[in-house]
């Protein structure tokens, strides 16, 4: 390709750069800049995480004593309902897709913003609105029937129920719009030369996520609209006495909510695929397999929903196809995990905080994935469904998978968002605290569930009589869960400390090779003065950078700045 003669360079590209907005409100509140919106998502998500996390801690205090006397059963039920709701819709979706996706994806494809910046702002502002609606339910009696809100139990909870529906429909609109926005951005706004197979893997993952966001989330809105009508107007969709079916809701709900877990986990896969090559100083192994397996997971994810309903309500013959498709998801997931292992094989690994999180992810996530195969297996699921085994499984996938990967991405891209590095020391202490907390809290839940402890129990006296060990393990979990609180508190401290006195990052502190590191940190308002030209995939560390037309003079072989390299041999400790 004759680069010098590329048509792009014949034009003055800066003629379309708009000046950055002036004034606090336009700059930081109603900003249409994807980088500012990403930070807004992050702050809101972290705030909601503190709230939902404190619900979880209240639950763990309740379960200290098998009699469960710390709070009323009804309050406990509200706690787990709100914990689930807030964590899924107001923490994970804003943090993983909203924050990381918004910050990184446009930079990685060499775009100046997302396709519809104004819509992007709207998507963000719907999140706090939804949060307000959701928390207002505490004044009228918060919903108490679990984050799944199965009718008929969810029909009898007063005004909290419809408000809950409204709040989640608002989040649904927000994430549909985000999905649409990202989809158009990735389809239409990639830098010249960036073909599909030259796209960075995080962008691939964001693309697969956008697909789910767009199509599954609308189905959720429909399900909740139907539930809203049933709650407020007594419409008989879910009333067996008038020909309705309570199972119908579960079909409609899980058609979204199974893909929903892929909304958190696919971007997580993307983060891992970025972090591992950078710190292993080695090209990603099996680029195409990783990229296409994201798509495969997204598409298969639409056809597995009924595995949440095995123990009752669906025809027995229907269990088998859903089981088989669920098993099949194990194959692309396995390919990803093996490819990541092959990526770090033969590298020169630097144990920075993001790398620690990324490597821990391989272990915790594959463990969570394997317990998922147990739950997909119909006969075994007949034992495990609705037990603490399920709780353990999805917390391993969500906390051990999505949140762990989010932290990897957070430590990795924080310098790009703020221009400062986070403290590695606090980061590593936080990492070990988080991992200890994660294991201590969720690992014992596996055997508690297998022994017969059902989930959503405010007290477990009968179970504790049959299995006296249960008291010990529940207390062990309660103590461990506070380690995770400490880890997240440490993240907050780290942010405050580093924003004020963290080390300056420079353009490319990690020596990474994707486009976002080719511009200054924090990224300028217009991202790229000149739109870069992409000649190849970014990941081969033995080749010079495959970019032309960059704004800044860049070392053809990017290297980490000495300052971020760990001093001691292994660097895994502090």
């Amino acid at each position: 390709m004759d680069v010098a003669a590329h048509p792009i360079e014949q034009h003055e590209a800066h003629d379309h750069i708009h000046p950055a907005p002036e004034g606090f409100i336009a700059k930081y509140v109603f900003s249409i800049d994807h980088k500012v919106i990403a930070i807004q998502y992050f702050v809101t998500g972290l705030l909601f995480m503190l709230i939902a996390g404190s619900f979880a801690e209240l639950m763990r205090i309740q379960l200290w004593n098998p009699k469960g006397t710390f709070m009323e059963y009804h309050t406990f039920n509200q706690m787990f309902t709100m914990h689930g709701t807030v964590m899924v819709w107001l923490v994970l979706i804003p943090l993983v897709t909203g924050s990381l996706g918004n910050l990184v994806m446009p930079l990685q494809i060499g775009a100046r913003d997302v396709a519809f910046p104004w819509l992007n702002m709207l998507s963000f502002w719907l999140i706090p609105v939804s949060g307000l609606i959701l928390f207002s339910t505490f004044f009228v009696g918060a919903p108490s029937s679990g984050w799944t809100e199965y009718p008929p139990i969810s029909l009898e909870q007063g005004p909290g129920g419809p408000l809950w529906c409204l709040a989640i429909i608002v989040v649904g609109i927000s994430s549909t719009l985000t999905g649409l926005n990202f989809m158009v951005t990735i389809f239409k706004m990639r830098a010249p030369g960036m073909t599909w197979t030259r796209m960075p893997l995080f962008t691939w993952a964001t693309f697969a996520t956008a697909l789910i966001n767009m199509f599954a989330t609308v189905a959720l809105s429909a399900a909740l609209l139907a539930l809203f009508f049933a709650q407020v107007y007594n419409v008989p969709f879910f009333d067996p006495a008038r020909g309705g079916s309570v199972i119908l809701y579960q079909h409609m709900f899980w058609f979204y909510s199974h893909p929903a877990v892929y909304i958190f986990i696919l971007p997580a896969f993307g983060v891992i695929s970025e972090v591992l090559p950078t710190f292993a100083r080695k090209t990603i192994f099996g680029y195409k397999m990783i990229a296409f397996s994201s798509l495969a997971i997204a598409i298969l994810g639409f056809a597995v929903w009924a595995h949440h309903m095995f123990p009752g309500g669906i025809a027995p013959w229907l269990q088998i196809p859903f089981m088989i498709i669920t098993y099949l998801i194990g194959i692309p997931t396995g390919i990803k995990i093996f490819s990541w292992m092959a990526t770090i094989w033969g590298g020169r690994i630097q144990f920075t905080t993001p790398m620690l999180y990324a490597m821990a992810f391989i272990g915790t996530f594959s463990f969570g994935g394997i317990t998922g195969v147990y739950l997909a297996c119909v006969p075994v699921d007949l034992h495990e469904h609705g037990s603490y085994f399920v709780v353990a499984h999805f917390h391993y996938v969500v906390a051990g998978g999505a949140v762990t990967a989010f932290f990897a991405g957070f430590y990795y891209w924080f310098p790009k968002a703020t221009g400062r590095l986070l403290s590695e020391k606090m980061g590593k202490v936080g990492f070990w605290l988080f991992m200890a907390g994660l294991t201590g809290t969720f690992l014992p839940m596996h055997w508690l569930g297998l022994e017969g402890m059902p989930r959503r129990y405010a007290s477990y006296e009968t179970f504790a009589k049959a299995f006296p060990d249960a008291v010990f393990w529940n207390r062990f979990e309660s103590v461990s869960s506070f380690l995770m609180v400490a880890a997240i508190a440490l993240v907050a401290v780290n942010i405050i400390y580093s924003i004020r006195s963290g080390r300056r990052a420079g353009n490319n502190p990690w020596g990474a090779r994707t486009l976002e590191w080719m511009i200054s940190s924090p990224a300028p308002y217009y991202n790229f003065k000149k739109i870069p030209i992409v000649l190849d995939r970014p990941y081969d560390f033995t080749q010079p950078l495959p970019y032309r037309n960059l704004d800044e003079v860049t070392d053809p072989y990017p290297v980490p700045s000495e300052a971020v390299l760990p001093r001691n041999a292994a660097g895994m400790g502090v």
Partner: protein, 370 residues
């Protein structure tokens, strides 16, 4: 970036698969084989209740599937995390190494990728085969059921019905009885919301769905007493919705059934409210109800539940919270069944520990309040 870049990065090529790869692999394989033997031959009662002394025929085959998955699941976990940790250690950046050092640029290894796609696929296909055979045995058993029983979920207790018993056999301490050695069919339904009937020792559960009848087919294999829990969230007192199941010899079961028939024939079914003593009721109220209800307050003077001074004569609330007229019988019904609704939840008589005479006394006391 003050350093001048050398013309190309320095590539470090590992020797073979890495130093110590084979010993590490051997260690992990030994661990896996040990785990395999432990899973297959040691009693797993700490993990699966009464694994070594199975309580139902399905439990044996479901445990078999569980063990199959555990053997391979543990192996995959050990290899994945083990190799990740090993690679991390062996291929770590050495202190003082040039920052231009990079790893070997291997993009693909088609043979390796082929195998790591094929092997999990084969494993999953085998698992599918095993699963389907077990599933078939559970869902469509060969032998016809010798006994059909019914279970009905209520907020918050289980009701058990047996053939030949007119109506239900249903009392606060009621138990489910099953004979061992005979195939039974349990038909499960619900009177209000979704519940889930779970006996962990049987390894089986099924949802009690309003408007539907679901079923469980199994053969209990040994005598014993087991807990039945509700494992689908069903309301405020979900966590105390327990029942117990007694599996006994067919003879003992028949004896129990005959006695139960007599008991049902004799039971009147309703609580006699005549003879309730308001004075005794007041004492009972202060012990069991006063924590949540204010006997001297109007409806809106709540503690947790509404005040009960004008329970029968409040013009603002001419009906009870369940929309029924405030007759003594309907007050008694709330005491028996409890209440869940927009204004909160009240436990039922089992949870509150109310006997028939307690209820009669309480109703007499509440009706006397003006």
């Amino acid at each position: 970036m003050s350093q001048v870049a050398p013309s190309a990065p320095q590539i470090v090529t590992p020797k073979g698969l890495g130093p110590g790869f084979i010993p590490v692999t051997i260690v992990m394989t030994v661990i896996n084989i040990a785990v395999m033997f432990a899973v297959l031959y040691l009693p797993l009662n700490f993990l699966l209740p009464s694994e070594s002394n199975a309580a139902s025929d399905s439990a044996v085959s479901i445990d078999g599937l569980f063990k199959f998955m555990t053997v391979f699941g543990v192996a995959i976990t050990v290899y994945v995390s083990g190799y990740t940790a090993y690679f991390a250690f062996v291929f770590r950046r050495r202190p003082g190494e040039s920052i231009y050092t990079v790893g070997v640029p291997i993009h693909d290894a088609p043979k390796l990728e082929f195998w790591w796609t094929l092997l999990p696929t084969i494993l999953l296909v085998v698992l599918m085969g095993l699963t389907i055979s077990v599933w078939k045995q559970i869902q469509f058993p060969d032998t016809a059921a010798a006994l059909t029983t019914e279970v009905v979920g209520h907020q918050f207790n289980w009701e058990f019905r047996y053939p030949g018993l007119n109506g239900s056999l249903y009392s606060p301490t009621s138990e489910m009885h099953l004979p061992y050695g005979k195939p039974v069919k349990i038909l499960v339904s619900s009177a209000d919301v979704i519940h889930q009937f779970w006996v962990p020792e049987f390894r089986l559960k099924v949802s009690a769905v309003p408007g539907m009848v679901t079923q469980l087919n199994l053969t209990p294999t040994r005598a014993g007493r087991f807990d039945i829990s509700c494992s689908e969230y069903c309301g405020a007192n979900h966590s105390i919705m327990q029942g117990s199941l007694v599996v006994e010899s067919p003879d003992a079961f028949n004896k129990w059934l005959a006695a139960a028939k007599v008991q049902v024939a004799n039971a009147s079914g309703t609580i006699s409210l005549a003879g309730g003593d308001p004075g005794v009721g007041k004492t009972t109220f202060s012990q069991k109800c006063a924590a949540c209800h204010n006997a001297g307050g109007t409806f809106d003077q709540k503690i947790v539940g509404p005040g009960l001074l004008h329970v029968t004569d409040d013009p603002a609330h001419p009906k009870l919270v369940d929309d029924k007229p405030p007759t003594p019988e309907d007050i008694a019904e709330i005491l028996v069944k409890g209440y869940t609704g927009p204004i909160g939840a009240m436990p039922n008589r089992q949870a509150n520990g109310l006997s028939d005479s307690d209820i009669a006394n309480l109703v007499a006391y509440l009706v006397s309040l003006k």
